[in-house]
């Protein structure tokens, strides 16, 4: 008996059977379950519940506030682990600046507090408690020096204490925090009423899509013409994700996973179009880029098929720019080593190979000063997530 794989996205459902993948636009007036059953009811009747596998990227993910002692260790390590657990970061706070920092207005799903190797103490004090009084959060976890755990437990209700993510040698230890966050994320997705309902269609666990995509990366080169190191750029309606091989980062972080992920919440072409346009207008290369594409700035305000294509091209450029050396405040990837760029998500339905190539040529020439570009692979069928799902079955 074959399997039925379903991905619930923020704009589409993707349904994969032996015969191929089909896509359905979401109807936002209906809840997810009703929408899916209306569109694919006859498909479900052909499968047993145990042969149906569902993953979901609808509804974003968790919001996180990380309070850490330094940028280069506490905050960097915690951010990395959070990304790898499928979480969208909202904010980081440097502990030395906590008194001057405003608390976020919206509810935070999880606060992470981190700082110091285990041999040091008295890192955290009243300043932390005062700040936390102003923050609304659902979960709080501490992963800093073990010696301060008692102070935090005594003063912060329901704080969860896990092993320090900074080892005695200043390396990262991700195991416990990653497991905790992954479970939280999982519980959040599955706990959403909309998604819970989907258990009427499957008897398997429902996973988050980024988690599944991350799991599929080690399998990618067997199924596509991909050469390592590569990046996968997933440009969807609400967010843009980059998954990349760790060979592209030369930092001192030693992690177990070969691949990392970054989420750009503000670079989606539909739901976060305004912030995308804002980022574009503030980029030093944008005017040159627009004229290279033979359009003017006005296109950014238009509502047309052409404007959408330009926005998508811009989002490819911006996302590469953000991880390039020109943006040192962020994770820097050594893009000169890159051999393959895989594009997936809504973008492959809109842009042609040539349009993608044009923009990547521009990026490499202007930003990297290189004439050769990596190989471009278009995942037109959005097949990447099905690899991860299949991989999942094999494990479970």
């Amino acid at each position: 008996m074959s399997k039925l794989l379903i991905d619930v996205g923020s704009t589409y459902f993707k349904v994969c059977q032996q015969s191929g993948i089909s896509q359905y636009f979401r109807d936002f007036k209906k809840d997810i379950y009703d929408d899916l059953v209306t569109k694919c009811g006859n498909i479900f009747s052909q499968y047993h519940k145990e042969d149906v596998f569902i993953c979901s990227s609808a509804n974003g993910g968790l919001s996180t506030l990380i309070i850490g002692l330094t940028n280069s260790f506490s905050l960097k390590f915690a951010k990395n682990i959070a990304f790898n657990s499928g979480i969208n970061i909202i904010d980081t706070i440097l502990y030395s600046k906590i008194e001057e920092t405003k608390a976020p207005l919206e509810l935070v799903d999880v606060v992470i507090v981190v700082g110091g190797i285990d041999s040091i103490s008295n890192v955290f004090d009243e300043k932390l408690l005062n700040y936390l009084q102003k923050v609304q959060y659902s979960n709080i976890v501490y992963v800093g020096t073990h010696q301060d755990a008692k102070f935090l437990v005594d003063n912060i209700p329901a704080i969860k204490i896990l092993g320090n993510i900074i080892t005695g040698k200043l390396h990262v230890n991700e195991t416990e925090l990653k497991e905790f966050l992954t479970n939280l994320y999982q519980a959040d997705i599955v706990g959403k009423e909309d998604i819970k309902h989907l258990y009427e269609l499957t008897s398997n666990q429902i996973y988050s899509t980024p988690y599944i995509v991350n799991r599929s990366l080690p399998l990618i080169d067997a199924n596509f013409e991909v050469v390592n190191p590569f990046i996968v750029v997933d440009i969807g309606g609400a967010t843009t994700d980059i998954h990349y091989s760790r060979d592209l980062v030369r930092d001192n972080i030693l992690t177990e996973s070969e691949y990392d992920r970054l989420v750009f919440k503000k670079l989606g072409v539909y739901k976060s179009r305004e912030t995308l346009v804002f980022a574009a207008k503030n980029n030093e290369f944008v005017y040159e880029l627009l004229s290279y594409l033979n359009v003017t700035e006005n296109i950014l305000e238009e509502e047309s098929e052409k404007a959408l294509r330009i926005l998508m091209q811009l989002s490819i450029f911006l996302v590469l720019y953000k991880v390039s050396r020109l943006n040192p405040m962020y994770v820097t990837l050594h893009l000169e080593l890159l051999k393959t760029v895989v594009l997936t998500g809504g973008i492959t339905k809109v842009l042609s190979y040539e349009e993608v190539e044009t923009i990547i040529v521009f990026f490499y020439k202007k930003v990297m000063n290189l004439h050769a570009i990596p190989t471009i692979v278009m995942d037109y069928e959005y097949a990447i997530w099905t690899l991860g799902m299949r991989n999942n079955e094999a494990r479970s």
Partner: protein
């Protein structure tokens, strides 16, 4: 046990001295946190903060340290690291340079001990003597 953070500053990949420094410091009874080559000044300072280190020992071989270390005073005051001993050594200028020019310059950036083209053991002996005197 005194804690030392060490590494090679900036875009400098000369790694041999760094390995020797790590080994020698350990042999002299220090606890060593080695950040390796290609380390920015901010990473050094952050490592000192995370480990509550007593000493920051930077090396630079390719001659470009000056450009990387000018912000030391600023970062030092950001975190109030008054008690930490700052040491730098290696080739601290491009080409020929006089000790008498280099030492005061780096001291003005905030380094307590400056070793331009000084042999490692001599430098570490001086450091140990300096630590004893302070204690």
């Amino acid at each position: 046990m005194k804690k030392v953070v060490t590494g090679v500053v900036g875009n400098d990949i000369h790694v041999v001295a760094n390995r020797l420094i790590d080994i020698s410091l350990q042999a002299r009874g220090f606890e060593v946190f080695n950040l390796g080559v290609n380390t920015s000044l901010e990473e050094f300072i952050d490592a000192v903060v995370e480990t509550d280190a007593d000493i920051l020992l930077i090396s630079s071989l390719n001659g470009e340290a000056e450009g990387w270390c000018r912000d030391l005073q600023f970062l030092r005051s950001e975190y109030s690291l008054r008690d930490v001993v700052f040491v730098i050594g290696g080739n601290l200028a491009v080409g020929e340079a006089k000790q008498s020019d280099i030492v005061p310059k780096y001291q003005s950036y905030g380094f307590d001990l400056v070793f331009h083209q000084v042999d490692l053991n001599t430098g570490l002996d001086t450091l140990e003597a300096y630590m004893k005197e302070r204690a």
